[in-house]
Structures are given as C-alpha cells and as structure tokens.
Symmetry: C2
Subunit: 150 residues, 2 copies
C-alpha cells in the first residue's frame, strides 16, 4: 500500500492533476443517461437556453474531476473517500473541447475523536478549463487513515 | 413550456420521484471511467476496504439522483439548473441491488436582486434506498425563471 497517511498531510500543501479533454459526444451521452435536459444534449436547444450553447452536466464535470483527483499527487493511503462537502459550485459551464485539470490545497488536518485509526483532511479542489477559469469549486472532507503504531 | 415559475414555489412544498435499481455491473463500469478505486470495482477488494463490500461511487449516486430529480414532481420551468450546494454528503454507501428514490423539500424562495427575470430556490434533496435510509443528502440552490410580466 502506497500513499500518504494523515500524519503526512498539513495545511498549505497543494496538489495538481494532468488534463483531460471533454468532447461533445460524451457530454451528450452522459446527459442522456443521467441529466437528460435539452441544454446538455442538443446544440440548437442549448443556444436558446440559459447556457447559450452546449454545456456539460455539472455531474459530468464532477465525475471527471473525481478521476483527475484520483490521478493527482494528493494520493491519500486507502484512496479518495469523501465524507461530504462544505461547499460545492459550478461558476462557469464546461464546453465541448475544454481541457480540464484540477488543482487544490489542503486546508485542515484533524484526527478523528471517535475513531483512533483515522482522521479527516479538508481540501479545496478547483477544476479549471484551458483558460485557467474555474468551472467547479469544492471544499470537501476526506477520510484518511492514521499511520499505524508499530 | 410547462413547469413551475419562481412564483409557484413556496417553502414547505415537497417533491418525490419514482425509483431506480442500481446494479453491480453499472457500479463497476461507472467507476472504471470516473472513479477507478478498488472498492468500487472489485468485490474482494471492496470487502477488505472501509466500505466492507462493493459500493457505488458517490458520483454515480449523485448522477442517478440528478436523473431522479429531473423525473420528480419538482419541475421548475426551464429545467433543473444548479447554482451550487450549501451541503452535500453521503451518509451511507449505495450497494448493488439498491432501489433508490429521492424526496425533498423547498426551504427558501427568493428573487434575484441583480437579475429581474430569475430567482433562486433552495431545496433539500435526500436520496434513499429501499429501506428508506438516506444515502445522499444535499441542500442546493436552483436557478428558476420568474413568471414573465405580460
């Protein structure tokens, strides 16, 4: 098992991922399964909508961001296990052809009071497009194992 | 265009969806694309993990919950357009075979100060399994058009 234990994290540490391109076809068929609304599926309907053009479902952006987070250099031991979010928003739509990446910062590190083998790190993760604009901002709490006492 | 304008919503209104069954195959291939961690993909690895058995990615639960919200009787005119969440968490894992449905309540309704044609409704949406247990709880803000003045 590789990766970082709770004791390896501290506030101010940053992490970053590579990038992935979002294409129109996957935007449309993700939406067909999970978010079947015209502005995520049909170019003409999207132009007339609040988005002014085809936009990825926010849940598609969220799912892609999870993939990027796993592949980033955050790397908690035991994987990325989310307990929930204090903040979660999509400031701008994701468009076909956008190259997304994530960057983030560790905000807090605290051992669990009730579970001596684990703790929580609070992280702010921002998903950005090729222009560097934020398309998703989250402040989430991840469960991270403590280093075993030998 | 059918659906409810901002003026049709008021705090205390409730909404509910039908249900959908989550199967092991879709849990695993959703994870393969977006959340490739052992506890979402491999039964044996999942048994040894913090989840104690195969569990859906939280983003799979979130995406399915979006589908259920669209199909619920909430029905804002212009569709479900999320501005972000004040709260978002997964109290329990989703397991293969779980039948999920959502139920929710309108908490607040407020016209936008800067955009006279729209407003925001704040809604608490809970996704439940067949036993009625909450597997996802969110408090989100949706953009809803105001009724046009003729």
């Amino acid at each position: 098992m590789s990766g970082k234990y709770l004791e390896d994290f501290s506030p101010g540490q940053t992490y970053r991922s590579g990038s992935v391109r979002i294409d129109a076809e996957r935007i449309k068929n993700f939406a067909a399964e999970f978010d079947p609304q015209p502005f995520h599926q049909d170019d003409e309907a999207a132009r007339r909508s609040i988005f002014g053009g085809l936009a990825a479902s926010g849940w598609h952006t969220a799912a892609v961001s999870m993939r990027l987070l796993i592949e980033s250099d955050l790397q908690p031991v035991g994987g990325i296990v989310g307990a929930g979010f204090d903040e979660f928003r999509w400031p701008l739509p994701v468009r076909p052809g956008d190259e997304l990446y994530i960057e983030g910062e560790v905000l807090e590190v605290r051992p669990s009071k009730s579970r001596p083998t684990q703790g929580i790190i609070k992280v702010r993760t921002t998903t950005r497009n090729g222009k560097g604009e934020a398309v998703q901002v989250s402040v989430g709490n991840l469960v991270v194992p403590r280093r075993p006492v030998l």
